[in-house]
Amino acid sequence: MVSVKPIPAEVVENREECERTIVLRLRPERPIRWEPGQFLMLGISGVDEKPMAFSGGDDREFELTIEIVGPFTERCADLEPGDVVWVRGPYGKPFEVRGSRAVVVAGGTGVAPLVPLVERLRRARVHVTSVLGGPHADRLPRKDDLEKLSDELYVTTEDGSEGRKGFPTDVLEELVEKECPDVVYACGPEGMLVRVAEIAREHDVPCQVSVVRYVKCGEGICGSCALGKGLLVCRDGPVFWTEELEGTEFGGVRRDVTGKPE
């Protein structure tokens, strides 16, 4: 029987990436083979455990891009090199590499799984245009990495403090017309993902999005991340082709930790 046990991982680096966002570099006791789009469960002993997307690095040492949003992620921010955390994974299905021209749309910390995706796409000789959006100039995580990795990067901020004023979907609309991409990849707030899916559908471009739901067990048992139509985010996702999501709670119901719609 395959078993995914928590293993210790040493914090190698914990850097402030931008406002309220850190990048945690971990070295697990044993290598973990992962693909862009997959996630692991990150545990801090005595605190809690949360799903986090792989966000760069390799099997022996990888990065997580973490937004500080509550008690658990605040504890993540306090981690120092040499500290031990616990990781189990990898879980979930990765992004699929397809075609020769891709547009990658990142909303805030949604950039996390997209950094290694862009790297993978470029290695597969796919032309990548990336769009990164955030509320303002200090909330554009992994901007430098995306810039370095992508063929082209567009930046948007809601207040116009950097790049274009507005939303990454504004840029996407232009890009799908101009660039005629073979595929669109996106991760970010669900509202943004819904809009990305619409734009892609309107232009008949296949589109993969990485969806966030309460993932508790990570193993497809507890049901908390069920999305409808038989889909579980932890097993069947978190990356879905947008047509798979039709008729599910994607873009509709979001549930809190008790399972109640928010």
């Binding site: 048992i221 038989g230 889909l231 549930r255 930790v257 008790t258």
Partner: protein, 318 residues
């Protein structure tokens, strides 16, 4: 496979989704049904919504035969679960049973009322080994508490009630608890909830692996314990109640073992990780045929005569 009559309903086959697995809300129920579950037992609902324990809530030691979990009964509360069940019913014609837990008869009564006319039956969770003070197995190891709770629920609910038993008691207490549940009006017994609780310790941090500290043991290693409880219940009360087996079932052979031990139907939880309920049903059907049984009903209790014989030798049976 022939349908079976369980808890007042016709199930397409004897394999249901256990409480704790998948059926956290409508989309969870949908997942279980689309993967072939013949009936749904919801995640346990408490009087107020619960967030559950901090993580890790599930740790997979399946290469050692088991998993530990301490979800901590996360649930949206009865009002919302009623809506989830109703929405589910709009789409699917599959029996849904509500698993409920409270800290005494009053709470169980209120929950029973909430699900009257909504759920096809109730399963009383008096057996969760990690629910904490006043809940779960603490109640379920006390025959008097079980009697009061069962009576309260049976009176307040308009359908069949099953009591889910804890295996974490001695043989004598188990039979007393079961008798108390039956005398108080339970139409079925669900056997068993997870074992323990169990503890695993991180050596690096010298602290428990699970967020809650301890968790219930499930998976293949639970099966022999569950089978023994089912067989003991079937010998003693098989004429009076339906017995629903649960614990470590992964494939058709496991299902048949439970049928042979006296279970009328079974539930699957941990194995939902790797397998669809429908596949297990298919396997069960094949194996029953191979063994010469026309359907599941015929196989129920096939091992009990010989089991009784062995217990007699141990002095545990007349």
């Amino acid at each position: 496979m022939r349908p079976v009559e369980v808890l007042g309903k016709r199930w397409a086959h004897p394999i249901a989704c256990a409480s704790g697995a998948l059926a956290a809300h409508r989309p969870g129920m949908e997942n279980a049904v689309l993967r072939g579950a013949a009936a749904i037992f919801t995640k346990t609902v408490t009087e107020s919504p619960r967030e559950g324990h901090p993580g890790p809530v599930f740790v997979d030691y399946l290469d050692e035969g088991y998993a530990l979990n301490a979800m901590g009964l996360p649930n949206p509360g009865p009002d919302r679960m009623v809506v989830e069940i109703e929405e589910f019913r709009d789409e699917f014609d599959v029996p849904v049973y509500a698993s409920v837990a409270a800290d005494g008869p009053e709470g169980f009564k209120r929950l029973a009322r909430a699900f009257s006319g909504v759920a096809d039956g109730l399963e009383l969770n008096v057996s969760c080994p990690h629910a904490g003070k006043g809940y779960g197995a603490e109640l379920g190891s006390d025959p008097e508490a079980v009697a009061e709770i069962t009576e309260a629920a049976v009176r307040a609910f308009d359908g069949p009630v099953s009591v889910k038993l804890t295996p974490n008691v001695d043989r004598e207490t188990l039979l007393e608890v079961a008798a108390a549940a039956i005398d108080a009006g339970a139409e079925a017994l669900t056997a068993v909830n997870t074992l323990g609780p169990g503890l695993r310790i991180d050596l690096r941090t010298a602290s428990p692996v699970l967020g809650a500290g301890v968790g219930g043991l499930s998976g293949p290693a639970l099966k022999p314990i569950a089978l023994r409880v089912v067989a003991d219940l079937a010998l003693e009360f098989g004429e009076e109640v339906e017995i629903i087996g649960v614990g470590g079932i992964r494939n058709g052979e496991d299902v048949v073992e439970f049928l042979f031990a006296g279970a009328k139907a079974v539930q699957v939880a941990t194995a939902a990780r790797e397998k669809d309920f429908g596949d297990i049903a298919m396997e069960t059907s094949h194996i029953l045929k191979e063994l010469g049984y026309d359907g599941p009903e015929e196989a129920i209790g096939a091992a009990l005569p010989e089991y009784r014989e062995r217990l007699r030798r141990l002095g545990w049976c007349q």
